[in-house]
Subunit: 312 residues, 4 copies
């Protein structure tokens, strides 16, 4: 299996929940269909938007296997194996292998203070446990509080350890710099670079990125599929115009009152509220201790969706 499979629009699949906190498999299946029907190129299960760090190991495995089974090969599915340190990640790798994931996505160690040497050893150990699966390094400093070193990434690419990276640093200049260094190193075809930023996909493509992992893509996958198509066709002005529409839709993540909830609650709550409004999932419940949007906020989210939702 080649890592090249994971290019284009690869949304981080959300995890719908029942009111008792268990995974809502029917809603999850509808969401998978919504995404594939929207034209996405792959699915990233158990990412940050999937509330992976809010799920027990059993819940994660259940969500992942459900996504894989229901996708049934229509698009490739990669799995987040996001845990604090190596031994714990390896447990998740075993689960992912067991249920048939076609790729892995891992972060640097977190909670513990870490170091480039340790991060590199971490990725090498993960790859050794599943050498047949493309491994992506997930750069998400807002969560793990370290930044993946570009030189380390390219060294691991050269050594066949990493097949790509998903960069959620929000630093478009740094992503471009990584792309340029990758290309200069002759790794353009062997190391995939995906942006995690919903609002600057055109920037990333213009700089040479291979795709995007947009949380908002759960809500409006067709918008991102269309945006990626415009970018690949070099229709940059049209791409920027569509990106602008998408960015207005993105305002749903800012509706939740920051005096009452985290950015995670507001953001994922905005997404799930929109998905419920669109009749994709049954409940907008987030996992504890996330806090819910109130009725007025839900109404505002719905109004934004009604105004800015893209349909082909």
């Amino acid at each position: 299996m080649a890592s090249a499979t994971f290019t284009g629009v690869i949304p981080p699949v959300m995890t719908p929940l029942h009111e008792d906190g268990s995974v809502d498999l029917n809603s999850l299946r509808r969401l998978v269909d919504h995404l594939i029907d929207g034209g996405v190129d792959g699915l990233f299960a158990l990412g940050s938007s999937g509330e992976t760090v809010f799920l027990t190991r059993e819940q994660r495995k259940l969500a992942l296997s459900t996504i894989i089974e229901h996708t049934a090969g229509r698009v490739p599915v990669t799995a987040g194996v996001i845990e604090t340190t190596t031994a714990r990640v390896l447990e998740l790798v075993a689960d992912a292998l067991e249920v048939g994931a076609e790729g892995l996505v891992a972060t640097a160690p977190f909670y513990t203070r870490t170091h480039d040497v340790e991060i590199e050893a971490h990725f090498r150990d993960i790859h050794a446990a599943a050498p047949e699966l493309p491994l992506f390094a997930y750069n998400i400093p807002v969560s793990v509080h370290s930044n993946l070193n570009p030189a380390m990434l390219l060294r691991l690419a050269q050594d066949g350890i990493l097949s790509g990276t998903k960069d959620s640093s929000g630093n478009d200049g740094a992503i471009r710099s990584l792309i340029e260094a990758r290309d200069d190193a002759g790794l353009k075809d062997s190391f995939t670079i995906l942006t995690g930023s919903e609002t600057t996909v055109d920037f990333a493509y213009l700089a040479g990125a291979d795709g995007v992992v947009p949380g908002l893509g759960n809500v409006n996958p067709a918008a991102y599929a269309a945006l990626a198509a415009l970018c690949k066709a070099g229709k940059w002005d049209e791409a920027a115009a569509l990106q602008k529409q998408i960015n207005h839709l993105f305002h749903i993540v800012f509706v939740g009152d920051s005096s009452r909830m985290s950015g995670s609650s507001a953001g994922l709550g905005g997404f799930k509220t929109a998905l419920k409004h669109l009749n994709i999932i049954d409940s907008s419940l987030l996992a504890a201790p996330h806090q819910p949007l109130d009725d007025e906020e839900i109404a505002r989210v719905n109004a934004i969706v009604d105004e800015f939702y893209y349909t082909a």
Copy 2:
């Protein structure tokens, strides 16, 4: 069971490992004896120094049950239930209850962005799952990247949710401020404040703290027991002199080369190296992806131990 049990010197018990990464139970039992013989007042299993975020759920449970069984009531044992979010913490609470832990220690949520409202809900849910066990809030911003709000802590104390806090912020002024606010609120007898700072125990006691959770206490428990005794006796000049000796011993955490390893590797590696030198544990191996001290560094750690180790 009263939270008042957890005062005085309560070291965060390290987790010795075999060369294959499994928990070395015999070394762990010798470490428990070393600590109790050194005069500590309680044990904190599965804390940061115990490499808890490097252990699988099964390893955690095994280490905890071994500590509890081998302690056999000589001192109380409290258990870290350190996970990213609520549902995952509750799994650890169930494990802790099953093996007989006498207290719980939980952090704020991590990896996810969080909020005071969410942190408070998190602690309330944890307490509800084990209302009979004293629950301590663990303030460790270097790991979870948020700071526990003092007003929230005292509100949770007032409501009987929290029995105390372990503060590893390294901010002695903030700890004193919390102590003053606690005392002003009439919560002196119902909310225990422990410092996690090895090098300023005399400061904490002088300000009215109830004890210390010193990582270095694994190496030299008798030093901390003596220090606490001097503080409680109001022999502050002698306490400061002993603290100074301890602080020179603490230099073992700075020996590991920071160009090659994290502060976690250097710190915990220094502790385990010292414990091996003292013939308490068989191997100084740390869990992956921690990096090891080299021979020259080991020799320097041993020399520091030989010079500054306190014996009564």
Copy 3:
């Protein structure tokens, strides 16, 4: 005078120094000609790249007056009035007015802890002292350690206090978000948004920005003039290709050894080394306590310039 004057390529003019630390006026005049001949649209004197916080008040005034006199109206000149707090900024405003600056650029207060309410008062006081000059807010969190609030910027734009902003946050997504909010507020024609990021100018233009303030533009103004022209013409693929060449030239800022000097020394030292290599300025000396590049580093900078310098 309309703020609309300050759009397009407006490099932050460097301040060449003699070996004794005094301002080298002849080199400065040659630099001004180099910039204007390169096709820039305006000049920003006394910005961060101009080492403004390394210059005494007298040196600043001398550099500014020299730039204005030598420019002689060929392009408009705006002046940084960068000081810790209001009264001190107002002294610089008086100097700028005296020597004929056509615009002002001010940051939030720094050194002191500050607050949105205070930052807003600060800008209002500055505008009141020179109501006839367009005032730009300079967002540079790496230096002042606060971020300018977008809602505040637009409120000040609405009130006629601010004519624009230069954003050196390095956050292209945030700049785009500000542009979108500006346009939604109907302020597109009255509030100018310039990026300070050398390596993502195409991104900024694609999102609707009005121009760029590139430090690297001192070295290669023609490259930025050509880049801006391509962007304005909607030739995005060509723009991205030229941006890529420019970004390779930008590597001159990373040559200085970070074990021996700050990023400021490496960056500004790279620029001045290149300018000396191009025979624009006589000395690459930076103001104290900046540290110099060594001979090997100078050779590497020169080689990068030789390889990637753009000529029309």
Copy 4:
């Protein structure tokens, strides 16, 4: 002149202002008398509490000369020479020398990104400009956003460049560690270590510090003089009790509403409000863009002063 002069209680003298923003010399003289009558050991003019970065160069010189003249040798006076970079600091050094300052206090460079090598060069250049005056390094990361390297400090002490440090990091453990390193290096008598933390003076003395630079000492100098005396006498329990009273008085810095003003406004506003309440200064006005306390807040500050003010 020996740096040993600057030990004990050395408050950072506030700068009273007239309603038009000019320095109120009569109030300043009364403040100087209040401090000396309160038993302080020296005065630190033009520090952060003196709003030095809010004053023009002329205002600074006027305030400094007034303090020196009015002190008339009763206690030694040291002067802050706080500016972004070297050339600008040297201007202030010249001013300080001209009006007879007996010591200098300088920070690391700020606004610019800096580096240990540059900070060290900076202090060496400052000392070279006034080799006869003891030079203190002022560690204030909240303002300059870098931390002074302890090894560098001791190297500069060894070389006779630095006579001491004022540490306002708020990190009591780090101050103790510096004290221990100083003593181990045999520099106890040649390098003075002062804490800038108002609420942990007993901690600092217990660890071996030489004194304190307390902003709150402007309000209640006698409290700090008494506290220092208790510490020097080894009466630690009494010291801690007085420190506790002082810490309740310190609550005046938290009265100003953080939704309306910075911590600087709240803190310095609390101090000036108290000084006006005590009839030491005529106006509590702070320099722009500081925001004022409102009437209700003023009343609360006054009530705290009435309850917790220490008199011998």
